[in-house]
């Protein structure tokens, strides 16, 4: 697997690059350069675990959802997040096959901190409005990055994203529906949603990662673009998010909690106050507000019911 520099490997690489340049899809069993495999594993395992971990902040609001319809909607949404995790972890597990690693190893990687989950899911939720903000804006941000990879050169990832993005449309509308009920509601409800937006604003800016690797010292964006996994940079994603969502946020009578925010006509860019990237660095080291608590919950529930997996491993027929 580790590319010994034989002529045949060079041929393989040339052939591989030719295929992805031509828009062909790479499949799990195909030859692929080691750094392509590694990049995919890192990207997709993190994406998958983020879905699994992202189910936790939202599930906090499932029992509390304030009507039968809302209870049903948010249950379906959390189920989808787990479903997305399932798809993405399956894609990762197939990429891991040459190393003999499986689902159990991925869970251990998560628990010991080798496998990270998305910074936005380390944040605390405090009110029902957060369920709306997560559905509308966090999923909105996710839609921006995920749709960009719908044509990714790796076929299994592209196909999983196709399924995921179709469901994200429901998630976004589920979020919009919660948000609008609040912005059109009582003063208490309006205050609730504004307070939630204020609290989530920095996290939403951080969602797309730093503009360049100089900010935090690492960024995978160059390799993913070269290998046609994605086409846009972090900052391009963030700007696109502003394009789509700033007018909508304002139209609902909400205030952007950044008085400096404006559209710079000359550069055709949104100008905004940078979030605290030191905080970002802490979060991605699992030192965010709820990092430990959520990892603990995931670890304990996994270990507490490990007897179920043990029991059924013996029944393999």
């Amino acid at each position: 697997m580790t590319g010994s520099n034989t002529i045949s490997d060079e041929n393989q690489l040339a052939n591989f690059m030719q295929r992805i340049e031509a828009g062909e899809k790479i499949e799990a069993d195909d030859w692929m350069p080691e750094d392509y495999r590694q990049t995919l594993i890192k990207l997709i395992s993190m994406h998958g675990m983020s879905e699994i971990m992202g189910a936790l902040p939202e599930k906090e609001w499932v029992p509390k959802a304030p009507s039968l319809y809302r209870k049903l909607g948010i249950m379906a949404k959390v189920q989808d997040e787990m479903g997305h995790g399932q798809l993405l972890l399956r894609v990762t597990e197939d990429l891991l096959e040459p190393y003999g690693k499986n689902r159990g190893d991925l869970m251990q990687d998560l628990f010991n901190g080798d496998l990270k989950f998305h910074n936005v899911f380390h944040m605390e939720t405090k009110s029902w409005a957060d369920a709306g903000i997560i559905g509308w804006l966090v999923d909105g941000a996710a839609i921006i990055t995920q749709t960009n990879m719908l044509k990714a050169s790796y076929g299994p990832y592209a196909r999983a994203l196709q399924r995921i993005c179709a469901e994200e449309v429901f998630h976004a509308q589920h979020g919009e529906s919660i948000i609008m009920a609040l912005t059109e509601g009582t003063d208490q409800q309006k205050a609730m949603i504004q307070e939630s937006l204020n609290r989530w604003w920095e996290a939403l800016l951080m969602f797309f990662g730093p503009a360049s690797k100089e900010t935090t010292g690492s960024s995978k964006q160059d390799l993913t673009i070269r290998y046609k996994i994605r086409t846009k940079t972090n900052e391009e994603f963030r700007q696109l998010f502003f394009d789509k969502y700033i007018p909508r946020i304002l139209s609902l009578g909400l205030t952007i909690p950044d008085p400096t925010m404006h559209f710079d006509k000359e550069n055709q860019m949104w100008s905004y106050k940078q979030p605290d990237w030191n905080e970002f660095k802490k979060i991605i080291k699992n030192q965010g507000p709820r990092s430990e608590a959520r990892l603990n919950l995931r670890r304990q529930s996994y270990e507490y019911n490990s007897w179920v997996r043990d029991a059924l491993s013996h029944s393999v027929r």
């Binding site: 959802a65 959390v78 189920q79 479903g83 399932q86 529930s301 179920v308």
Partner: protein, 270 residues
């Protein structure tokens, strides 16, 4: 003879309302307990599958609350969210916690208990729904025909889990048998119709308590025989009867959580 909503006598209405509260509250609490499991099941694929069953059950509860709304008992969301424990008619089994600890922290939920409760509850629900398909109250019979469609899957799903864990490792068998004991201790009011028993049975809204018990026992017998398990016995007189508004503190705690946002402003649109 079947009746629709318009030609109800007063006594009839009371019996129907009482039965509908039992059905609605049962599924509401069962679905609520299921929803606390979201994201925490022992396997991701299993998490997703069992979540559908919780959703379906919440959907069934919503159908029953809507039938109550149609009878003028109040708004469905209000009935689900703002009634006090003493007014609730769910059986004790459905209100029991999934295990120790609050769901927002790091609870120790027991999958064996989830499987046994779900399997035996679903079998009981199936027996009732089968009978309700011929209910003298037409709107309820129509709802039962719909609910039955989704019960095929629920029953199959939990039966497979029940069978497999009951016939695997010693650890699993011990946990499953301990859970079976807990579940059966609470089974005394599952088939009780509370203080409207006479009217409910007389007007043929559903089969009698005794018929339901017998059908339930018959429905689980093949599985228990295959597993060489002793057929469980339904306790004669329950310590607490949920159908009479007698409940545990588990229900109080659940009600506080499930109505937390709703009660911030019950007249607001959420």
């Amino acid at each position: 003879m079947s009746v629709s909503q318009n030609d109800l006598t007063l006594e009839n209405r009371e019996a129907i309302t009482s039965l509908l509260f039992q059905l609605a509250d049962d599924d509401f609490m069962y679905a609520y307990r299921g929803s606390e499991w979201l994201g925490l099941a022992p396997h991701i694929e299993a998490d997703i599958a069992s979540s559908s069953i919780s959703q379906d059950s919440m959907g069934h509860a919503a159908m029953f609350y809507t039938l109550l709304e149609d009878l003028g008992a109040g708004n469905a969301n209000d009935l689900a969210h703002s009634r006090k424990a003493i007014d609730r008619r769910n059986c004790i089994l459905t209100e029991r916690v999934n295990g120790e600890g609050y769901y927002m922290e790091t609870p120790h939920y027991d999958w064996a208990y989830a499987v046994v409760r779900s399997y035996l509850y679903t079998q009981a629900k199936k027996v009732k729904i089968d009978s309700l398909c011929g209910s003298s109250y037409k709107p309820l019979a129509e709802a039962a025909v719909k609910v039955r469609i989704e019960l095929y899957y629920h029953r199959l799903h939990w039966e497979i889990w029940f069978k497999q864990l009951m016939s695997s490792t010693d650890i699993a068998k011990n946990k499953m048998n301990a859970a079976l004991k807990l579940v059966m201790n609470d089974f005394g009011d599952v088939f009780s119709y509370g203080n409207q028993k006479l009217a409910i049975e007389m007007t043929k809204l559903i089969g009698t308590e005794e018929e339901m018990k017998a059908n339930w026992t018959a429905s689980i017998e093949p599985v228990f025989t295959t597993l060489q398990l002793e057929l469980p016995k339904i306790p004669d007189s329950p310590e607490k009867n949920g159908r009479m508004g007698e409940h545990t503190k588990d229900l109080d705690e659940a009600l506080t959580t499930l109505s937390e946002v709703y009660l911030l402003d019950p007249v607001a649109i959420w």
